[in-house]
């Protein structure tokens, strides 16, 4: 508990006495990133607003640095906690630097005039988030990616112990997403501050978070390290994925597979079949594929999209059992697509399967090597 900076105990949050989330118990240590994941409307933003002190908790407690949040004075709290929320910031005739300087509010005097020290903190914060170059640009005329970094600089200006971010990368393209989260990760490591943020980008959440809080079904379903959360099909359950699939181990999201018995057999492996699987899915043709080791690059996609997969665990030797199974499927299908014709010594059986396919002259087959 020594390093715990913010925690909640049996917290219930919501609007107008209607709880959105109940019994949330979690904690985040100094220098840790905690990520909230969960379906739309599950209450991630509501939880963040409550932790920020902008929404009164309905029950339970929030403790910042060991003290109940309601016992904090506004100004004192503003010096310990900063936010980057999804609410649009309204500015008029304000440069990026003016917006960042707004973060000094809890430190300036009655009229909000910046001291030299304030000014140097403002320029330091802008350097840290790489926005010094645009300091004199109008805040309304910069890109989404720049805007998020300016808001982060503003939050840093408050010299907080913890920053709350609500979907900070949702409107950014992949380059800015990676840039923003890398920046955040570095700042956390350098300064030892804590971060609580919500993310919709699951694969990024899995990588950036020290711990993950899963919000669903009106409560914090799980609170654990990413490895534990992203396993055993839990994510599909959390988001109630009904059409398509999400493979947590590999971070692979696939659309709904074509229904019905397989009409095409795809001979694939070593990543040669993925494009073909996707093409068949787009055309709505159910297919079977094999013979794949479960560690094969093709396997996660095959598992998500194929009607049948002939597979075996890695480490086992391919044998006649898989061959017979595959031959049966080849016989049942109208067509065969061959994605590769060279096989390593550990998958000679696939070579035998190819020979079998080529021998069946009554059947059209397509050789579809890379490209």
């Amino acid at each position: 508990m020594g390093s715990c900076y913010l925690q909640t105990r049996d917290l219930s949050v919501g609007y107008h006495k209607e709880p959105v989330l109940q019994n949330v118990t979690m904690e985040v240590g100094r220098g840790e990133i905690l990520t909230l994941i969960g379906p739309n409307g599950a209450g991630k933003s509501t939880l963040l607003k409550s932790i920020a002190g902008q929404l009164k908790p309905l029950a339970g407690g929030i403790y910042l640095d060991g003290r109940e949040l309601s016992g904090w004075d506004r100004q004192e709290l503003a010096r310990c906690m900063a936010v980057v929320f999804t609410d649009r910031m309204h500015t008029e005739l304000m440069t990026c630097k003016d917006v960042v300087a707004g973060g000094r509010y809890p430190y300036t005097g009655r009229f909000g005039i910046l001291s030299d020290q304030d000014r140097s903190i403002v320029s330091d914060s802008m350097k840290k988030t790489h926005v010094s170059e645009i300091r004199d640009r109008d805040f309304n005329k910069i890109s989404d990616g720049q805007r998020q970094r300016v808001l982060l600089a503003r939050a840093l200006c408050q010299q907080p112990g913890i920053i709350l971010l609500d979907e900070p990368v949702s409107h950014l393209d992949i380059r800015y997403q990676l840039e923003f989260l890398s920046m955040l990760q570095r700042l956390v490591k350098e300064s030892g501050m804590s971060v609580i943020m919500s993310l919709h980008e699951l694969e990024l959440a899995q990588r950036v978070s020290d711990r993950i809080l899963c919000i669903g079904n009106g409560t914090a379903e799980r609170f654990d390290i990413p490895q534990k959360i992203f396993s055993d099909g839990y994510i599909s359950g959390l988001f109630r994925i009904e059409t398509g699939s999400f493979d947590e181990e590999n971070g692979v999201a696939e659309l709904e597979k074509a229904a019905g018995p397989p009409r095409v057999f795809v001979l694939a492996g070593s990543g040669s079949g993925r494009d073909t699987y996707h093409r068949l899915q787009r055309e709505g043709i159910p297919f079977a594929t094999g013979i794949l080791y479960t560690h094969d690059l093709d396997y996660p996609v095959a598992k998500a999209l194929a009607a049948e997969v002939v597979s075996l665990p890695s480490g086992d030797a391919m044998s006649g059992i898989q061959l017979e199974e595959a031959k049966k499927l080849v016989d049942e299908c109208e067509r065969v697509i061959v994605c590769r014709d060279r096989f390593g010594p550990w998958e000679k059986i696939n070579g035998e399967l190819l020979a079998y396919i080529r021998k069946k002259e009554d059947r059209k087959y397509l050789e579809n090597f890379h490209g």
Binding site: F85, G102, G112
Partner: protein, 357 residues
Amino acid sequence: MQDRKDKTAPVNKGGKNSDNRITRDIICFVILGVLVLALLVCNLGLGSVKIPVRAVLGSIGIGSAEVSDTARGILWQIRMPRALAAFLLGGALGLAGYLLQTFFHNPIAGPFVLGISSGAKLAVALVMVFFLGGGIRVSSWGMILAALAGSLFVMGFVLVMSRHVSNMAMLIVSGVMIGYICSAITDLVVTFAQDADIVNLHNWSKGSFSGITWENVAVMAAVTVVSLAWAVCMAKPVGAYLMGEVYAASVGVSVRRLRVLLVLLSSILAACITAFAGPVSFVGIAVPHLVKKLFGTAEPLVMIPACFMGGSVFCLFCDLLARTLFAPTELSISTVTAVFGAPVVIVIMLNRRKERG
């Protein structure tokens, strides 16, 4: 990690840039100050009786020009209180407009369009008719209190409306409607009040700076100066509030308290204006925008005093025209302010559309 696009942006040294800004602020304040003084002198000198500038200055103790008793009487009893009223109430209007625009995050808010002035007018008319009918004179403070009650009543209505309509155009329309209702009732009250004293109400209910006494000036000076000082002290939280309530709260602003103060302060200002000059249109909307354009900043610490001075300039100028254009016939002040203020509102709306693309 550096953004390549960013590098094309002009790079200024931070210090130099903020120096430029302060210089511009000072220049603009000096311009406004000179305009206020020049217009005050014009207002004192011009009218159906022309009084030369030297005589005007002489009568207030600057220089040693001879001043006739008639001129002295006109200056001290009529023009000076009137000019000071235009100065103080104009400032109050500019400031009230700025505070309301801040509160509603709405660029075309103002005491007149939201119906607050009309509410104050109705309350004052009712009180005056009631007391004058009973032969009792109403003091300046009594008028302000009545006006405050009226403006708070309408403000309450507008606040309830603002909770139900998220569209800011609808908010303005509802404000204009309640303004019309209040004006209609006022007209009814004034029309059916036969008393000769009350006939004067007719001028007032259209908006005019005429008939202001020194006692009125003292009271309005007290109210507006205190309100201005109060507003200046609120500049810091107002600046944070302008960016959005969530962000204001996150840096430690008590948003609820600030909102109450904004409502209260703008209602007091609107009440003060209406109690003495009746409803004056468009100053509250137009001045903050003109001032913002002039200064090139929306920083409240600058905007608050600047809107006050801008309102003063606007009203002194408009009152000068109202008195002199068709002298000896006097125009109502709103006639003149509308001519100059309404185009500003139209430009604002066109610009907003452009910004939204």
